[in-house]
């Protein structure tokens, strides 16, 4: 099987912008041409071969082995092919991605998958803030595709997200789904404060009741929602559904909000889980 591997020779003090190292671009070049690709290190331009050891054959299966976690924009704008990061990625991994598969076998910095509109981003470790949110200056977050984080994510997951699926198998920080326009966020661990604040539409699916919700969400009761069968069937392929007893009992608590906005966003969690008191409201 053909594969091209770029192994970082040594860590740099300055952050590196890796956005031009996309599988679909490198597949068109020879090893010699790739070796000459310019990389900006501080105020110096350096050929790629000085920073990376190249091995394998140029193709749309790219493997990147960083020596530090300051490689930013890995896979940004990627349209096709596969890119695997063996180690930690910096900020904005998969930003503006439109297709293909981007795997990070490690942690990432902030803004992973911001503005992602297609393809799949998988992170085996933890990720920073604003996962799947808007790119800097953009009015909308993720608008398609799928992001899976096997670890935890920090604050503002899916901010202003419009379409697509974010799965967080660990915990999510505060302001998860803030100002969400539509789309689906699934959090299997704990979730921080102010989840769903400013939500217009979209779904926030939790594994248990949140400790608190914004006061502008209202309880709409316990329901069997047929679409969850489809969602679970899709998720089963990539994660253990844990407390969800998908096919047997998809009954969920349904809170709708944010009533300070369009109010059509929904926060769901299994009815069977800790069916005690309604969550307390966060002050606004």
């Amino acid at each position: 099987m053909k594969q091209l591997t770029l192994t970082q020779r040594h860590a740099t003090a300055q952050r590196l912008d890796m956005r031009s190292f996309l599988p679909e671009h490198l597949a068109q070049l020879s090893l010699a041409q790739i070796a000459e690709l310019p990389l900006q290190v501080g105020n110096q331009t350096t050929p790629a071969s000085e920073l990376f050891e190249l091995s394998g054959t140029p193709c749309e299966d790219l493997r990147l082995v960083p020596a530090a976690d300051n490689l930013d924009f890995i896979g940004a704008g990627m349209r096709q092919g596969e890119l695997t990061v063996v180690g930690n990625a910096g900020d904005a991994v998969g930003q503006g991605m439109r297709g293909g598969l981007l795997r990070v076998e490690g942690n990432t910095g902030d803004e992973a998958g911001t503005g992602l509109s297609g393809g799949e981003l998988r992170i085996t470790g933890n990720t920073g803030e604003r996962l799947g949110g808007p790119s800097v200056g953009a009015t909308q977050g993720m608008s398609g595709g799928q992001i899976q984080v096997q670890g935890s994510a920090r604050d503002r997951v899916g901010e202003r997200m419009r379409r697509g699926l974010i799965l967080i198998q660990g915990d999510a920080g505060s302001w998860c789904g803030v100002n969400m326009i539509a789309g689906t966020i699934v959090v299997q661990g704990h979730i921080g404060a102010m989840a769903g604040s400013g939500m217009r539409r979209g779904t926030l699916l939790l594994s248990g009741p949140p400790a608190a919700l914004p006061s502008t969400f209202s309880d709409n009761g316990v329901h069997d929602l047929n679409f969850l069968h489809l969602l679970f069937a899709h998720l089963k392929a990539v994660t253990d559904l844990g407390p969800w007893t998908a096919a047997d009992n998809p009954s969920v608590h349904r809170y709708l909000g944010d009533l300070a906005d369009a109010g059509m966003g929904e926060i769901l969690w299994p009815a069977a889980s800790a069916d005690v008191d309604a969550p307390t409201s966060n002050p606004r």
């Binding site: 398609g144 689906t184 779904t203 929602l225 047929n226 679409f227 069968h229 489809l230 069937a233 899709h234």
Partner: protein, 298 residues
């Protein structure tokens, strides 16, 4: 040629090109899934007056449906894509959306799409929710029993309608019994439906009429009560003729269904009072697909 001692006439069934689609309907149990299917395919025997020909193709176990509930697959056949789309939307809107606990999904993949939940979603009056899961788009429409879930669209394909054969018998009961056996055998096959009541039609038609307004009329050559005054195709012992019409996604599907049906109809031999098996042959005026009885039963 004879099957179990029953003559098979050397003629052909004449069928024509149609457009078809398949949808899947699920519900809380098999009974309610079938109820939705029966309702939406109830008035769908012939394009002559119903706009579309439709029927339940198969019952589906829970593990064979998208949402893990029992269901059915329905095939609909129309003469044009436009009419098929209109009938699909009307029938799903009036008969499936209204039926308790149901959901509706595409039963066919392809680039040529027909709207399914795409327009029905507006019943939600703004409360409807779009969900994209695994590259497919669904609509969740709030209704009084919970949510109606409908996939955005289904696909359509070219198909064949009007495959048929006639069972000529010594009595109505004998013709019907043979047809019932044929229907049971044919309904076990995929990709076909038998659109008429119980799968059987007793008013087989010919093309045209003495009345200008009618595009089809009774086929007097097979009417036993007119044996003495028409160019009848019936021998003196025939007192009842019934027809089975079959629509299928491909000519091969129709041929397989006709073969299964004719063999089942003839299984009782002459003792069942079945006299002969023939077919609706309109001299090439009706359609381009010709299924020769001797070939499909061989």
């Amino acid at each position: 040629m004879k099957l179990n001692g029953i003559p098979i006439e050397d003629t052909f069934a004449e069928a024509f090109g149609m457009k078809a689609t398949r949808i899947l309907i699920t519900a809380i149990d098999a009974r309610w899934a079938r109820q939705a299917g029966d309702t939406m395919t109830g008035f769908a025997t012939s394009v002559i007056g119903c706009g579309v020909e439709a029927g339940i193709e198969a019952e589906l176990e829970a593990d064979a449906t998208p949402d893990g509930r029992p269901g059915i697959s329905v095939l609909l056949f129309g003469m044009s894509n436009k009419e098929l789309a209109k009938q699909l939307e009307n029938r799903v809107g009036q008969c499936v959306l209204t039926c308790p606990t149901t959901a509706v999904f595409s039963g066919m993949d392809g680039d040529d799409k027909l709207p399914l939940g795409k327009n029905l979603r507006f019943f939600g009056d703004g409360w409807q929710i779009s969900k994209q899961i695994g590259g497919r788009r669904y609509w969740r429409v709030p209704v009084m029993d919970g949510e109606f879930l409908a996939e955005e669209s289904t696909a359509r394909c070219k198909a064949v309608g009007g495959g048929n054969f006639l069972v000529l018998a010594k009595s109505q009961r004998a013709a019907l019994t043979a047809c019932e056996a044929a229907v049971a055998a044919m309904r076990r096959l995929p990709n076909v439906i038998l659109p008429f009541p119980g799968g059987v039609v007793r008013s087989g038609s010919k093309v045209g009429s003495k009345y200008k307004a009618l595009m089809a009329s009774t086929n007097q050559a097979f009417c036993p009560t007119l044996r003495g005054v028409t160019a009848s195709n019936l021998s003196s012992e025939v007192r009842s003729v019934m027809e089975i019409v079959v629509n299928g996604l491909t000519p091969e599907d129709i041929a397989a269904a006709m073969r299964a049906g004719i063999h089942a109809a003839c299984a009782g031999g002459p003792a069942s009072d079945v006299v002969r098996v023939s077919a609706g042959n309109y001299g090439g005026k009706l359609g381009q697909f010709h299924f020769r009885l001797h070939e499909v039963t061989a």
